[in-house]
């Protein structure tokens, strides 16, 4: 269908919200609480627009498009409202971007940038709130929380771990873990869904803090190396340092739709671990290992295989391929055994 946005006719799909239609057409409407996965909450009130024929401001995250709808996203009334909301947030939290890990990806920062607000103007005191560093992998800074509710919705409605909720009311509203426990003492399983969905720097990945800013990382798709669900990963990589900085789940992926578990999201230390094998090793007669070149190692292995094969037959050699290697590598492994060594003795730990 066709709708009009800021006087320009654009295409929209039935059932879409105004926000979604605008986004699809490259029209920026700031929003803080809306996320595709948790849907419209109508909480932040920053995505408001004016619609011809409707009184007052409407939240674009919750109103569906209708054929011929005429929408304005940048009227004075809209901008004033958006500015007030963002001003209120900047004025009532500690939104210092300098060392914030969310810098460059922060939706509050984006909204403030769009509206040209450098800092809050309603300076009547900022309530000081807790930082919660009790969790192994997740860092919570309530001073940056805008109580958008995404983390609560995600914890209860997406991953259904049912740990997070809001406590208190009014401007004292805050997120709570179980019966208001420190995150690390709560029943949280640290899947990190809250961190991934947080629009600001209130919930971040602890191990990523200070490692690289968002614009310094390259994002590479991969698949989780742990269980067999096949969660799609977005690895945030610092190519220069040759390091994984952060792991996100890929939103919209058919397997995990952005979700991950504690291992998939945070268990990547092994990749850059100092104990990684860097070169082939050959065992000395005394049982210790010595470094070897590839030529030497391959030479030795092929020689020994020939030797054993000629003495005891190919079926005296067993190959174990790997449920953690790729299809391509498992293929070449079994081909090596079948085509080159000449045995069907190939198995792996599917049963273990």
């Amino acid at each position: 269908m066709q709708i009009s946005m800021n006087g320009t006719s654009i295409g929209a799909k039935p059932g879409q919200t105004i926000f979604q239609a605008a986004r699809d057409n490259g029209i920026f409407i700031p929003t803080l609480c809306y996320h595709d996965k948790v849907g419209a909450a109508g909480k932040c009130r920053v995505c408001v627009v004016e619609i011809e024929g409707m009184n007052g401001l409407q939240t674009s995250c919750s109103v569906e498009v209708r054929e011929g709808m005429r929408i304005q996203t940048r009227t004075e009334k809209v901008i004033n409202a958006q500015k007030l909301v963002v001003d209120l947030l900047l004025s009532t939290g500690t939104h210092d971007c300098i060392a914030c890990d969310q810098n460059g990806k922060c939706e509050l920062q984006n909204a403030a940038y769009y509206l040209g607000l450098e800092r809050g103007s309603l300076n009547y005191g900022v309530p000081e709130k807790d930082m919660d560093e009790s969790s192994e992998f997740v860092f919570v800074d309530r001073n940056k929380c805008i109580s958008c509710g995404r983390c609560v919705a995600a914890c209860n409605g997406t991953v259904v771990n049912e740990v997070l909720d809001f406590k208190y009311r009014g401007n004292k509203v805050d997120i709570a873990f179980d019966d208001d426990l420190p995150m690390g003492k709560s029943s949280c399983v640290q899947c990190g869904e809250c961190s991934q969905i947080c629009p600001v720097g209130a919930i971040t990945d602890r191990n990523s803090r200070g490692k690289a800013r968002h614009w310094e990382v390259e994002k590479v798709y991969s698949v989780c190396p742990y269980c067999g669900v096949g969660c799609k990963l977005e690895l945030h990589v610092d190519r220069k340092a040759n390091k994984i900085i952060r792991v996100n789940g890929v939103e919209g992926a058919p397997t995990n739709d952005g979700m991950l578990c504690v291992k998939g999201r945070y268990g990547y230390d092994f990749v850059g671990h100092e104990e990684r094998l860097r070169n082939p090793l050959i065992k000395n007669p005394d049982g210790t290992f010595r470094d070897a070149s590839w030529d030497e190692a391959i030479d030795l292995v092929s020689r020994k295989f020939f030797e054993i094969k000629s003495k005891h037959g190919a079926d005296s050699i067993m190959g174990m391929c790997s449920a953690k290697a790729t299809n391509e590598e498992n293929y070449t492994f079994q081909k090596l055994f079948r085509q080159v060594i000449g045995t069907n003795n190939i198995d792996h730990c599917a049963r273990l």
Binding site: S322, E328, T332, L352
Partner: protein, 525 residues
Amino acid sequence: MTNDIAGLDKSDVALIIGSDTSEAHPVIAARLKKAARKGKLKIIVIDPKEIRMADYAEIYTCQRPGTDVAVLNGMMHLIIKNGWEDKKFIEERCEGYEALKEEVDKFTPEYVERISGIPAATLEKIAELFGKAETAALYYAMGITQHTTGIDNVKSTANLQMLCGNMGKVGGGVNPLRGQSNVQGACDMGGLPNVFTAYQKVGDAPVQEKFERFWGVSLSDKPGIPMTVAFDKAYDGEMKAFYIMGENPMISDPDLHHAEAALKKLEFLVVEDIFLTETAKLADVVLPASTYAEKSGTFTNTERRVQLLFEAVKAPGEAKHDWQIHQMLANKMGQNWNFGNAREIFEEIRKCTPSYAGMTYERLGFNGLQWPCPTEEHPGTPVLHIGKFTRGLGLMTAIPFKAPAEMPDADYPLYLTTGRILQQFHTGTMSRKSPGLNNLAGPHAMISVQDAEAIGVKNSEKVKVTTRRGSIVTTAFITKRCPKGTVYVPFHFAEAPANALTINALDPVAKIPEYKVCACKIEKV
């Protein structure tokens, strides 16, 4: 899985048996929990432990370890007795019904209660909820397979789903949840002793001929031996060399003392891995390989979805991709492989693997494709067996109940069962390199409140778990989720390896070890 992950919220009922889903497959668990909380799904959990999924279940019941056949036969008994079976489906699409019916006839709820400990009334409720459901799915993991009756258990799940007409439809299916990132792919690629890629049988003349032509050599038509048997043969001196890629049997094999002795008897052991694992330490040659983040290629997940990986970081030092190592070896041994990258290998795989034939890296794209995908026009197959089983008629099999190999007795009065926990993975090669994960979960034994009281051990105190194979000292984790008489030990930890305790008793066909049941005793240290 016969069905796909995205479709699991289409079921009315899901039976989870032998899967600690939220620990071992957390993201599938999340989807099931969501479907239960927000959608129409009703979950039934049957498990010796009161696993987290029980909190989301309509019905949870505790079974004794190793009684799955009896429980499933009992459900079928009640379903048939009450006429809840799908008569049309059985008639048109299955064979072997009469024999099955005759077998399950004796599995009355009372009889099943005596075997499994599940109250007759509970079994009746379960059978009713499951039997009357329009569409019901069944999920299992190693809790079904790691038994001396593993194959029997698997066949029983298939019996139940055929009986209720839950096969070949969205929201139904028999859904084994696979435990490793590419365990499905390793099987698909012919990483098994009796099949080539896509389960083309070794020894089947047309298949042999096809691969001989394809690879340009003559091939052995004698099926190989499974790994569990290979260890015995190594122990006996019959097997001379092992080449192990990215596995750590020194943690994962049953009865580790036996495994270690077997590996030490080998004439030559090559291990290709990313770390100097417990197994690699025993090797004559260790070859440094790459992690998932260092390579391109594909993984095939539990729902048969082939997905792309891309290289994100460089492997350290001179470490290579596994395929590069295989190519060097193959060429050294006289072949002339010329793979330039993973994509070229995939192109070769397509040519000899009918279920992957329609896939290309371009087509895999963002979403991947689910096999079978025979042609480049084929959209992939989210749900198997729609309209027709692969073998034609679905085979129902009468399965008698058999007890586990080792049952508790006066000397070893408790059940020992083993498995996974959320924060660690398999043999720990990857997860135990994370200080954070190690802080979250170390070695422990889950013990019931009653059994802990009986030996006077308190939470976090040391406890010794002993079986006829050996003993370990670990930390007691006392929980109401563990039933009296059962001890649960996760197997990830080299310093307290559960598999020093487990029994090397195998399923006669699948050769899978009975990790889920043996007899043990516990003592306070």
